[in-house]
Point group: C2
Chain length 204, copies 2
Protein backbone atom coordinates (compact mmCIF):
# COMPACT_ATOMS: atom_id res chain seq x y z
CA UNK A 1 0.00 0.00 0.00
CA UNK A 2 1.42 3.42 -0.95
CA UNK A 3 1.25 6.44 1.30
CA UNK A 4 -1.36 7.92 -1.02
CA UNK A 5 -3.47 4.76 -0.69
CA UNK A 6 -3.20 4.91 3.09
CA UNK A 7 -4.26 8.56 3.11
CA UNK A 8 -7.13 7.83 0.78
CA UNK A 9 -8.19 4.84 2.85
CA UNK A 10 -8.07 6.97 6.00
CA UNK A 11 -10.19 9.65 4.35
CA UNK A 12 -12.68 7.03 3.20
CA UNK A 13 -12.79 5.60 6.70
CA UNK A 14 -13.35 9.05 8.20
CA UNK A 15 -16.05 9.70 5.63
CA UNK A 16 -17.72 6.44 6.57
CA UNK A 17 -17.54 7.24 10.28
CA UNK A 18 -19.06 10.66 9.54
CA UNK A 19 -21.82 9.05 7.46
CA UNK A 20 -22.44 6.55 10.26
CA UNK A 21 -22.79 9.44 12.74
CA UNK A 22 -25.20 11.27 10.46
CA UNK A 23 -27.29 8.13 9.91
CA UNK A 24 -27.38 7.35 13.63
CA UNK A 25 -28.45 10.88 14.63
CA UNK A 26 -30.98 11.06 11.82
CA UNK A 27 -32.42 7.68 12.84
CA UNK A 28 -32.81 8.81 16.46
CA UNK A 29 -34.56 12.00 15.38
CA UNK A 30 -36.89 10.22 12.94
CA UNK A 31 -37.82 7.68 15.63
CA UNK A 32 -38.50 10.49 18.11
CA UNK A 33 -40.58 12.70 15.82
CA UNK A 34 -41.74 10.24 13.17
CA UNK A 35 -40.63 10.41 9.55
CA UNK A 36 -43.32 12.91 8.56
CA UNK A 37 -42.55 15.04 11.62
CA UNK A 38 -38.85 15.42 10.76
CA UNK A 39 -37.68 18.08 8.29
CA UNK A 40 -34.36 18.34 6.46
CA UNK A 41 -33.79 21.46 8.59
CA UNK A 42 -34.25 19.41 11.78
CA UNK A 43 -31.83 16.77 10.47
CA UNK A 44 -29.19 19.36 9.50
CA UNK A 45 -29.43 21.00 12.93
CA UNK A 46 -29.18 17.64 14.74
CA UNK A 47 -26.02 16.62 12.87
CA UNK A 48 -24.49 20.12 13.18
CA UNK A 49 -24.51 20.95 9.48
CA UNK A 50 -26.08 23.59 7.30
CA UNK A 51 -28.98 22.44 5.15
CA UNK A 52 -26.78 23.02 2.09
CA UNK A 53 -24.05 20.88 3.66
CA UNK A 54 -26.50 18.09 4.36
CA UNK A 55 -27.84 18.24 0.81
CA UNK A 56 -24.24 17.61 -0.26
CA UNK A 57 -24.54 14.15 1.37
CA UNK A 58 -28.13 13.26 0.56
CA UNK A 59 -30.67 14.52 -1.94
CA UNK A 60 -33.86 14.36 0.14
CA UNK A 61 -35.47 13.12 3.35
CA UNK A 62 -36.57 9.99 1.48
CA UNK A 63 -32.99 9.44 0.33
CA UNK A 64 -31.83 9.85 3.95
CA UNK A 65 -34.28 7.16 5.12
CA UNK A 66 -33.28 4.88 2.23
CA UNK A 67 -29.54 5.31 2.98
CA UNK A 68 -30.11 4.59 6.71
CA UNK A 69 -32.03 1.39 5.96
CA UNK A 70 -29.58 0.20 3.27
CA UNK A 71 -26.69 0.90 5.62
CA UNK A 72 -28.43 -1.14 8.34
CA UNK A 73 -28.99 -4.01 5.90
CA UNK A 74 -25.31 -3.89 4.88
CA UNK A 75 -24.32 -4.13 8.55
CA UNK A 76 -26.69 -7.08 8.96
CA UNK A 77 -25.25 -8.76 5.88
CA UNK A 78 -21.61 -8.36 6.94
CA UNK A 79 -22.03 -9.02 10.66
CA UNK A 80 -24.83 -11.63 10.70
CA UNK A 81 -25.61 -13.20 7.33
CA UNK A 82 -22.05 -13.76 6.00
CA UNK A 83 -20.61 -15.28 9.20
CA UNK A 84 -23.75 -17.43 9.59
CA UNK A 85 -23.53 -18.76 6.04
CA UNK A 86 -20.11 -20.21 6.85
CA UNK A 87 -21.63 -22.48 9.52
CA UNK A 88 -22.63 -25.82 8.06
CA UNK A 89 -24.72 -27.18 10.93
CA UNK A 90 -28.21 -25.62 10.78
CA UNK A 91 -28.80 -25.65 14.55
CA UNK A 92 -25.49 -23.91 15.26
CA UNK A 93 -26.11 -21.53 12.32
CA UNK A 94 -29.47 -20.44 13.73
CA UNK A 95 -28.05 -19.99 17.25
CA UNK A 96 -25.27 -17.82 15.81
CA UNK A 97 -27.65 -15.77 13.64
CA UNK A 98 -29.83 -14.90 16.63
CA UNK A 99 -26.79 -14.21 18.82
CA UNK A 100 -25.15 -11.93 16.23
CA UNK A 101 -28.38 -10.16 15.30
CA UNK A 102 -29.23 -9.30 18.93
CA UNK A 103 -25.65 -8.08 19.48
CA UNK A 104 -25.87 -6.04 16.26
CA UNK A 105 -28.98 -4.28 17.55
CA UNK A 106 -26.91 -2.92 20.43
CA UNK A 107 -23.81 -2.20 18.33
CA UNK A 108 -25.55 -0.38 15.49
CA UNK A 109 -28.40 1.31 17.31
CA UNK A 110 -31.76 0.06 18.44
CA UNK A 111 -33.27 3.18 16.84
CA UNK A 112 -32.44 2.02 13.33
CA UNK A 113 -34.45 -1.15 13.90
CA UNK A 114 -37.43 1.01 14.92
CA UNK A 115 -37.16 2.88 11.64
CA UNK A 116 -37.85 -0.09 9.35
CA UNK A 117 -41.66 0.27 9.44
CA UNK A 118 -41.17 3.82 8.10
CA UNK A 119 -40.06 2.37 4.79
CA UNK A 120 -43.68 2.71 3.69
CA UNK A 121 -42.80 6.40 3.11
CA UNK A 122 -40.27 5.46 0.42
CA UNK A 123 -41.02 5.31 -3.31
CA UNK A 124 -42.26 1.85 -4.46
CA UNK A 125 -38.93 1.10 -6.21
CA UNK A 126 -36.96 2.06 -3.08
CA UNK A 127 -39.31 -0.03 -0.90
CA UNK A 128 -38.60 -2.94 -3.20
CA UNK A 129 -34.83 -2.60 -2.84
CA UNK A 130 -35.08 -2.66 0.96
CA UNK A 131 -37.77 -5.35 0.89
CA UNK A 132 -35.66 -7.69 -1.25
CA UNK A 133 -32.75 -7.52 1.16
CA UNK A 134 -35.04 -8.25 4.11
CA UNK A 135 -36.54 -11.16 2.16
CA UNK A 136 -33.09 -12.53 1.52
CA UNK A 137 -32.43 -12.62 5.28
CA UNK A 138 -35.81 -14.25 5.93
CA UNK A 139 -34.92 -16.74 3.19
CA UNK A 140 -31.78 -17.78 5.07
CA UNK A 141 -33.78 -18.35 8.25
CA UNK A 142 -36.40 -20.38 6.36
CA UNK A 143 -33.68 -22.41 4.62
CA UNK A 144 -32.07 -23.14 8.00
CA UNK A 145 -35.42 -24.27 9.45
CA UNK A 146 -35.94 -26.49 6.39
CA UNK A 147 -32.55 -28.14 6.95
CA UNK A 148 -33.49 -28.75 10.59
CA UNK A 149 -36.76 -30.31 9.40
CA UNK A 150 -34.82 -32.57 7.00
CA UNK A 151 -32.66 -33.70 9.91
CA UNK A 152 -35.86 -34.51 11.86
CA UNK A 153 -35.01 -31.85 14.45
CA UNK A 154 -37.82 -29.32 13.81
CA UNK A 155 -40.97 -29.28 15.92
CA UNK A 156 -44.27 -29.57 14.08
CA UNK A 157 -44.28 -25.89 13.03
CA UNK A 158 -44.96 -23.96 9.83
CA UNK A 159 -41.61 -22.72 8.48
CA UNK A 160 -42.88 -19.38 7.13
CA UNK A 161 -44.79 -18.34 10.23
CA UNK A 162 -42.00 -19.59 12.51
CA UNK A 163 -39.34 -17.57 10.68
CA UNK A 164 -41.49 -14.46 11.25
CA UNK A 165 -41.95 -15.26 14.94
CA UNK A 166 -38.20 -15.67 15.40
CA UNK A 167 -37.50 -12.35 13.65
CA UNK A 168 -40.12 -10.57 15.78
CA UNK A 169 -38.54 -11.74 19.05
CA UNK A 170 -35.26 -10.18 17.83
CA UNK A 171 -36.49 -6.96 16.19
CA UNK A 172 -39.05 -6.61 19.00
CA UNK A 173 -36.24 -6.03 21.49
CA UNK A 174 -35.79 -2.55 20.03
CA UNK A 175 -39.41 -1.86 20.96
CA UNK A 176 -39.46 -2.93 24.60
CA UNK A 177 -35.86 -2.76 25.81
CA UNK A 178 -35.06 0.05 28.25
CA UNK A 179 -31.47 0.62 29.38
CA UNK A 180 -32.58 1.21 32.96
CA UNK A 181 -34.59 -1.99 33.37
CA UNK A 182 -31.72 -4.08 34.72
CA UNK A 183 -31.48 -6.48 31.78
CA UNK A 184 -27.97 -6.84 30.33
CA UNK A 185 -27.09 -7.34 26.67
CA UNK A 186 -25.53 -10.72 27.48
CA UNK A 187 -28.73 -11.90 29.19
CA UNK A 188 -30.80 -10.77 26.23
CA UNK A 189 -28.57 -12.60 23.77
CA UNK A 190 -28.71 -15.82 25.79
CA UNK A 191 -32.45 -15.64 26.54
CA UNK A 192 -33.41 -14.85 22.94
CA UNK A 193 -31.32 -17.75 21.61
CA UNK A 194 -32.76 -20.14 24.20
CA UNK A 195 -36.38 -19.03 23.81
CA UNK A 196 -36.28 -19.57 20.04
CA UNK A 197 -34.32 -22.81 20.12
CA UNK A 198 -36.63 -24.25 22.82
CA UNK A 199 -39.54 -23.26 20.55
CA UNK A 200 -38.34 -24.92 17.38
CA UNK A 201 -36.22 -27.95 18.36
CA UNK A 202 -37.92 -31.28 18.74
CA UNK A 203 -37.00 -32.95 21.99
CA UNK A 204 -35.39 -36.26 21.23
CA UNK B 1 -86.22 -2.01 30.48
CA UNK B 2 -88.50 0.83 29.38
CA UNK B 3 -88.93 1.88 25.77
CA UNK B 4 -86.94 5.02 26.59
CA UNK B 5 -84.12 2.86 27.96
CA UNK B 6 -84.17 0.70 24.85
CA UNK B 7 -84.05 3.77 22.61
CA UNK B 8 -81.24 5.25 24.66
CA UNK B 9 -79.36 1.98 24.62
CA UNK B 10 -79.77 1.79 20.85
CA UNK B 11 -78.51 5.34 20.45
CA UNK B 12 -75.54 4.55 22.70
CA UNK B 13 -74.83 1.45 20.68
CA UNK B 14 -75.02 3.38 17.42
CA UNK B 15 -72.78 6.05 18.91
CA UNK B 16 -70.28 3.37 19.89
CA UNK B 17 -70.37 1.80 16.43
CA UNK B 18 -69.82 5.26 14.93
CA UNK B 19 -66.91 5.90 17.31
CA UNK B 20 -65.45 2.49 16.44
CA UNK B 21 -65.65 3.39 12.73
CA UNK B 22 -63.96 6.74 13.33
CA UNK B 23 -61.21 5.13 15.41
CA UNK B 24 -60.62 2.41 12.82
CA UNK B 25 -60.40 4.85 9.89
CA UNK B 26 -58.22 7.25 11.87
CA UNK B 27 -55.90 4.38 12.87
CA UNK B 28 -55.53 3.28 9.25
CA UNK B 29 -54.74 6.82 8.14
CA UNK B 30 -52.24 7.41 10.95
CA UNK B 31 -50.48 4.14 10.16
CA UNK B 32 -50.33 5.06 6.47
CA UNK B 33 -49.07 8.63 6.90
CA UNK B 34 -47.54 8.50 10.36
CA UNK B 35 -48.95 10.46 13.32
CA UNK B 36 -47.05 13.64 12.45
CA UNK B 37 -48.08 13.33 8.80
CA UNK B 38 -51.83 13.20 9.57
CA UNK B 39 -53.82 16.39 10.15
CA UNK B 40 -57.24 16.83 11.75
CA UNK B 41 -58.41 17.88 8.27
CA UNK B 42 -57.18 14.55 6.81
CA UNK B 43 -58.96 12.66 9.60
CA UNK B 44 -62.23 14.58 9.12
CA UNK B 45 -62.13 13.93 5.37
CA UNK B 46 -61.39 10.22 5.85
CA UNK B 47 -64.34 9.71 8.22
CA UNK B 48 -66.67 11.86 6.09
CA UNK B 49 -67.16 14.65 8.62
CA UNK B 50 -66.47 18.35 8.74
CA UNK B 51 -63.57 19.42 10.92
CA UNK B 52 -66.08 21.09 13.25
CA UNK B 53 -68.06 17.83 13.41
CA UNK B 54 -64.93 15.87 14.26
CA UNK B 55 -63.97 18.39 16.98
CA UNK B 56 -67.37 17.60 18.50
CA UNK B 57 -66.08 14.03 19.13
CA UNK B 58 -62.45 14.72 20.02
CA UNK B 59 -60.53 17.79 21.10
CA UNK B 60 -57.23 17.26 19.24
CA UNK B 61 -55.11 14.84 17.21
CA UNK B 62 -53.40 13.77 20.44
CA UNK B 63 -56.82 13.12 21.98
CA UNK B 64 -57.74 11.02 18.91
CA UNK B 65 -54.62 8.89 19.31
CA UNK B 66 -55.25 8.53 23.06
CA UNK B 67 -58.89 7.49 22.49
CA UNK B 68 -57.87 4.92 19.84
CA UNK B 69 -55.26 3.36 22.13
CA UNK B 70 -57.54 3.36 25.20
CA UNK B 71 -60.33 1.81 23.13
CA UNK B 72 -57.90 -0.90 21.94
CA UNK B 73 -56.84 -1.59 25.54
CA UNK B 74 -60.51 -1.83 26.59
CA UNK B 75 -61.10 -4.39 23.83
CA UNK B 76 -58.03 -6.31 25.01
CA UNK B 77 -59.25 -6.21 28.60
CA UNK B 78 -62.77 -7.41 27.82
CA UNK B 79 -61.90 -9.99 25.14
CA UNK B 80 -58.54 -11.33 26.38
CA UNK B 81 -57.67 -10.40 29.97
CA UNK B 82 -61.07 -10.96 31.65
CA UNK B 83 -61.80 -14.36 30.04
CA UNK B 84 -58.21 -15.47 30.73
CA UNK B 85 -58.39 -14.49 34.40
CA UNK B 86 -61.25 -16.94 34.84
CA UNK B 87 -59.00 -19.88 33.87
CA UNK B 88 -57.32 -21.40 36.93
CA UNK B 89 -54.73 -23.58 35.19
CA UNK B 90 -51.75 -21.38 34.11
CA UNK B 91 -50.87 -23.43 31.02
CA UNK B 92 -54.44 -23.33 29.72
CA UNK B 93 -54.68 -19.62 30.68
CA UNK B 94 -51.60 -18.74 28.63
CA UNK B 95 -52.81 -20.76 25.64
CA UNK B 96 -56.15 -18.98 25.76
CA UNK B 97 -54.55 -15.51 26.14
CA UNK B 98 -52.41 -16.02 23.03
CA UNK B 99 -55.34 -17.52 21.09
CA UNK B 100 -57.72 -14.66 22.02
CA UNK B 101 -55.12 -11.95 21.48
CA UNK B 102 -54.21 -13.14 17.97
CA UNK B 103 -57.93 -13.41 17.12
CA UNK B 104 -58.49 -9.92 18.55
CA UNK B 105 -55.83 -8.51 16.22
CA UNK B 106 -57.93 -9.64 13.28
CA UNK B 107 -61.28 -8.65 14.81
CA UNK B 108 -60.28 -5.16 15.93
CA UNK B 109 -57.82 -4.17 13.27
CA UNK B 110 -54.17 -4.95 12.77
CA UNK B 111 -53.65 -1.23 12.13
CA UNK B 112 -54.45 -0.30 15.72
CA UNK B 113 -51.65 -2.59 16.93
CA UNK B 114 -49.24 -0.76 14.62
CA UNK B 115 -50.25 2.53 16.23
CA UNK B 116 -49.02 1.71 19.76
CA UNK B 117 -45.43 2.90 19.15
CA UNK B 118 -46.91 6.32 18.23
CA UNK B 119 -47.89 6.82 21.87
CA UNK B 120 -44.55 8.62 22.25
CA UNK B 121 -46.38 11.59 20.68
CA UNK B 122 -48.82 11.78 23.62
CA UNK B 123 -48.36 14.01 26.68
CA UNK B 124 -46.37 12.30 29.49
CA UNK B 125 -49.53 11.90 31.62
CA UNK B 126 -51.41 10.34 28.69
CA UNK B 127 -48.46 8.04 27.93
CA UNK B 128 -48.59 6.93 31.55
CA UNK B 129 -52.29 6.05 31.37
CA UNK B 130 -51.73 3.87 28.28
CA UNK B 131 -48.47 2.49 29.68
CA UNK B 132 -50.08 1.38 32.93
CA UNK B 133 -52.73 -0.61 31.11
CA UNK B 134 -50.09 -2.32 28.96
CA UNK B 135 -48.07 -3.08 32.09
CA UNK B 136 -51.11 -4.63 33.69
CA UNK B 137 -51.41 -7.05 30.73
CA UNK B 138 -47.69 -7.84 30.87
CA UNK B 139 -48.15 -8.41 34.59
CA UNK B 140 -50.75 -11.09 33.93
CA UNK B 141 -48.42 -12.87 31.50
CA UNK B 142 -45.54 -12.70 34.00
CA UNK B 143 -47.80 -13.95 36.81
CA UNK B 144 -48.89 -16.87 34.61
CA UNK B 145 -45.24 -17.74 33.82
CA UNK B 146 -44.44 -17.56 37.55
CA UNK B 147 -47.26 -20.03 38.32
CA UNK B 148 -45.89 -22.37 35.64
CA UNK B 149 -42.44 -22.07 37.25
CA UNK B 150 -43.96 -22.92 40.65
CA UNK B 151 -45.50 -26.03 39.10
CA UNK B 152 -42.05 -26.96 37.73
CA UNK B 153 -43.34 -26.61 34.16
CA UNK B 154 -41.31 -23.58 33.01
CA UNK B 155 -38.11 -23.98 31.01
CA UNK B 156 -35.00 -22.30 32.41
CA UNK B 157 -36.01 -18.85 31.12
CA UNK B 158 -36.11 -15.31 32.56
CA UNK B 159 -39.75 -14.42 33.20
CA UNK B 160 -39.48 -10.72 32.26
CA UNK B 161 -37.63 -11.24 28.99
CA UNK B 162 -39.83 -14.21 28.10
CA UNK B 163 -43.05 -12.26 28.64
CA UNK B 164 -41.72 -9.64 26.20
CA UNK B 165 -40.77 -12.26 23.61
CA UNK B 166 -44.25 -13.81 23.79
CA UNK B 167 -45.90 -10.39 23.36
CA UNK B 168 -43.64 -9.58 20.39
CA UNK B 169 -44.60 -12.77 18.54
CA UNK B 170 -48.25 -11.68 18.90
CA UNK B 171 -48.02 -7.91 18.27
CA UNK B 172 -45.41 -8.62 15.57
CA UNK B 173 -48.07 -10.32 13.45
CA UNK B 174 -49.49 -6.87 12.65
CA UNK B 175 -46.08 -5.94 11.21
CA UNK B 176 -45.48 -8.88 8.88
CA UNK B 177 -48.91 -10.36 8.07
CA UNK B 178 -50.21 -9.77 4.54
CA UNK B 179 -53.72 -10.89 3.59
CA UNK B 180 -52.51 -12.23 0.26
CA UNK B 181 -49.71 -14.45 1.60
CA UNK B 182 -51.83 -17.58 1.93
CA UNK B 183 -51.72 -17.81 5.73
CA UNK B 184 -55.12 -18.14 7.41
CA UNK B 185 -56.14 -16.63 10.73
CA UNK B 186 -56.72 -20.12 12.16
CA UNK B 187 -53.20 -21.22 11.19
CA UNK B 188 -51.72 -18.10 12.76
CA UNK B 189 -53.62 -18.68 16.00
CA UNK B 190 -52.51 -22.31 16.22
CA UNK B 191 -48.89 -21.66 15.20
CA UNK B 192 -48.46 -18.73 17.58
CA UNK B 193 -49.85 -20.73 20.51
CA UNK B 194 -47.65 -23.72 19.67
CA UNK B 195 -44.45 -21.73 19.05
CA UNK B 196 -44.73 -19.98 22.42
CA UNK B 197 -45.80 -23.05 24.40
CA UNK B 198 -42.99 -25.14 22.84
CA UNK B 199 -40.61 -22.33 23.89
CA UNK B 200 -41.63 -22.09 27.52
CA UNK B 201 -42.81 -25.54 28.65
CA UNK B 202 -40.31 -27.92 30.11
CA UNK B 203 -40.54 -31.33 28.51
CA UNK B 204 -41.36 -33.87 31.18
Amino acid sequence: MTIADTAKSKATQEGQTRNEEIFQTAAELMVQRGYAGTSMGDLAKAVGMTKAGLYHHISSKQDMLLQILLHAMEELESTVIEPAKRIADPEERLREMIRLHVRGLFDHGLETALLFPERRHLEPAQQQVVGQRIQSYRGLIRETLRELADEGKLQDLDINITSSHILQTIAGIARWYRKDAGVTEAQLVEQTVNFNLFAILKVS
